[in-house]
Amino acid sequence: MDNIAGQKSGLGIATHLATLLLVIVWIVPTVGLLVTSLRDQDAISETGWWMALQGAPLTFVVEVPVDDQQEGEGGGWLLETNVFEGESGAALPDDVVGRATVDAFGVSRLRGANLAPGETAETRDGVAVTVERDGTLIARSPEQMEGALNLPMALIAPPQITLENYAEVLTDMDAEDRAEALEQGRSLDDLLFSEEALFGPFVNTLTVSIPATVIPIVIAAFAAYALAWMDFPGRGLLIAIVVGLLVVPLQLAFVPLTIIHEWFGIGKSFLGIWLAHTGFGLPLAVYLLRNYMVGLPRDIIENARVDGATDFEIFWKIVLPLSFPALASFAIFQFLWTWNDLLVASVFLPADTESTVMTRFVVTNLLGSRGGEWHILAAAAFVMIAVPLIVFFSMQRFLVRGLLAGSVK
């Protein structure tokens, strides 16, 4: 298609643009939540995340005392000051003074901050006021001014990246409470594992997913070797069964396994979910590994056999090391699946924070009670997503290879 004269450039640009559009649509949702998780709680409700770089305008009524500072000037009175300094500056929050600029101001509380910086307007008392972007205020009045000027102002502070949301969701305390708790002598360990903190579920998710990834690999590797390189009656039937089990809906297993686990005395526990994930992951593991092992060169294995190696040795010393790419592919699948799983965890783990995983904690604890608090939800989402994303971007090669081995013939 590249060498059609005259069409190349037009279609080429269209392709670039269409791809760009597709990529933007695909990443904007994630970027939006990531940006939100790094913003200040107030800024989130003030402006959209796409405005994050501009900062959010915060509205204040600034009280500028006029008594001492005005000077007589050719038949009138003049006040020249800066709203960020003196008494008016002291009344503003610390993080605004020194960082913020004036986005808009007004001369009446009723009409709000409706003037752009640099414009001039008269107050009800006949004072002409101008406020510049940097906070410089000039007020002129034919008569001596009294009391103070009350000016509504929209102040914009440049955006600040904050990790406070993450700290809050991991400990279930905002900065103040946390400082207080630490002062009272509670250890960090204690805060992290408190009832409504996300850190405990984070550790639980790790506790579930790592054994649930490693154990099926070992079991499946042996079975896959037998199905690929050992000859016995019924092999074809077993492979067909494994292929069939690939698509069995997990839902079928929930009621029976709850009863069976209860009966074995496992109940709802980490042991139960490790076993369940192992069972549910095995069809894919056996299928992927067998497909890979069957493609290994026959000569190597036959030669080893002729040299007197046992099947166990062939498996352990030759087949297993050669199958590393397939093992890695499956490990990534299984890790992503167990880390991201909500359904199996809802059935096989107790609901309390001590043993629940992040996905379930977010759905039952955060979405319910703190559904509107997006600074919490956004941070929770990224605590949940971070590990899989790291795995994904560092091991994408194996993931793609595994997908292709599983579906394309």
């Binding site: 994630t30 154990i215 037998a226 067909a240 839902q251 029976p256 997503i385 994303l389």
Partner: protein, 329 residues
């Protein structure tokens, strides 16, 4: 507390993995040295017998786990669905007749059908589009990586990401902000329990699955023989004709595989509806219905619904097994 959790995790892995290896090694050793030792007068017979048994030693743990966790539950569920709950003191079919008589169940069945129709079709179409667009692009791999990324994100995480996109506040949700660009002054609540809102939830799954479809279809497109494309160019075909009449027919097999794989996934998806539409009856699907009955301890209805899901999956299962058998021959 943290150290004890980490320690117990490491301990479990060591026990699990070490135990498995110990089993394989020990069972092989016993077979070769105690049961059928390759020496003495029966050496030939012993070796043959040991080799006939060995595959089953290799297979046993996997077969045991698959049997206990997947095969037995299929039959056990089927059994429970005709014997427990209302089936105990009525006909065996009572669980099924009662769930089908339930309005919410019918809505969830209908919704499931919608999901099955829309999500695989849209994911495959977008995946095919993305695969074709990025095929010869200088920055194609980067683009693919970014479209593929949602695959790593959990359904719950993706639901949060999209709930934020759908947020009713015009200053928070992107969709409402876009409406604002075109003159809307107030944000609207997008997901509020209308049947049509299911499509907004489907978008989440399409967003995730497009990357999967793209990766596989992109590999398939690479496998289309150059000669067929060159021949078409010589015959004066335009790029669209080349795509639809030359490339797509040649990768039809792969398209079907992608389509069915996503269909299976769609039938089982639970998390998205649980996270985004849990309070709305109109958005229910079979898996959420099943979990509702499961949580309330109504095992009769729960197993009956899981069997309904199984029946929906069955055609794909049969087709998969046939394909696999054909390859083995």
């Amino acid at each position: 507390m943290l150290d004890s959790v980490i320690l117990s995790g490491i301990f479990t892995i060591l026990i699990g993995v070490g135990g498995m290896f110990a089993y394989f090694w020990a069972s092989n050793w016993v077979l070769d040295n105690v049961v059928y030792p390759p020496r003495g007068e029966n050496i030939g017979r012993n070796i043959n017998r040991a080799n006939a048994i060995r595959p089953w030693l290799f297979l046993f743990p996997a077969m045991f786990a698959l049997g206990l966790y997947l095969v037995v539950p299929v039959f056990y569920s089927a059994w429970l669905s005709v014997t427990s709950g209302v089936a105990e003191d009525g006909g065996w079919y009572r669980n099924y007749t009662e769930i089908f008589a339930n309005e919410t169940f019918r809505v969830s069945l209908l919704n499931n059908m919608l999901w099955v129709l829309v999500v695989p079709a849209a994911s495959t179409a977008f995946g095919l589009l993305a695969a074709q667009l990025t095929d010869r692009l200088s920055w194609g791999n980067l683009a693919k990586s970014l479209v593929f990324m949602p695959m790593a994100i959990s359904f719950v995480g993706a639901s949060l990401i999209w709930s934020f996109v759908y947020h009713p506040d015009i200053d928070i949700g992107v969709i409402n902000a876009l409406r604002g660009l075109f003159g809307a002054e107030e944000g609207v609540t997008l997901v509020d329990g209308q049947i049509i809102d299911s499509f907004l939830l489907m978008v989440v799954l399409i967003w995730i699955q497009t990357g999967f479809a793209m990766v596989i279809l992109s590999a398939a497109l690479r496998g289309v023989p150059e000669e067929t494309i060159e021949a078409a160019i010589l015959d004066g075909a335009n790029p669209f004709q080349i795509f639809f009449k030359i490339k797509v027919p040649q990768i039809m097999g792969t398209i079907v595989v992608v389509w069915t794989t996503i269909t299976i996934l769609v039938l089982k998806v639970y998390d998205i509806v649980a996270a985004m539409g849990n309070q709305y009856r109109n958005l229910e699907i079979l898996p959420t219905q099943m979990m509702r009955y499961f949580d309330s301890g109504n095992y009769g209805f729960a197993t009956a619904i899981s069997i309904v899901i199984m029946v929906l999956v069955l055609p794909v299962m049969v087709w998969n097994i046939r394909q696999a058998r054909a390859e083995l021959r």
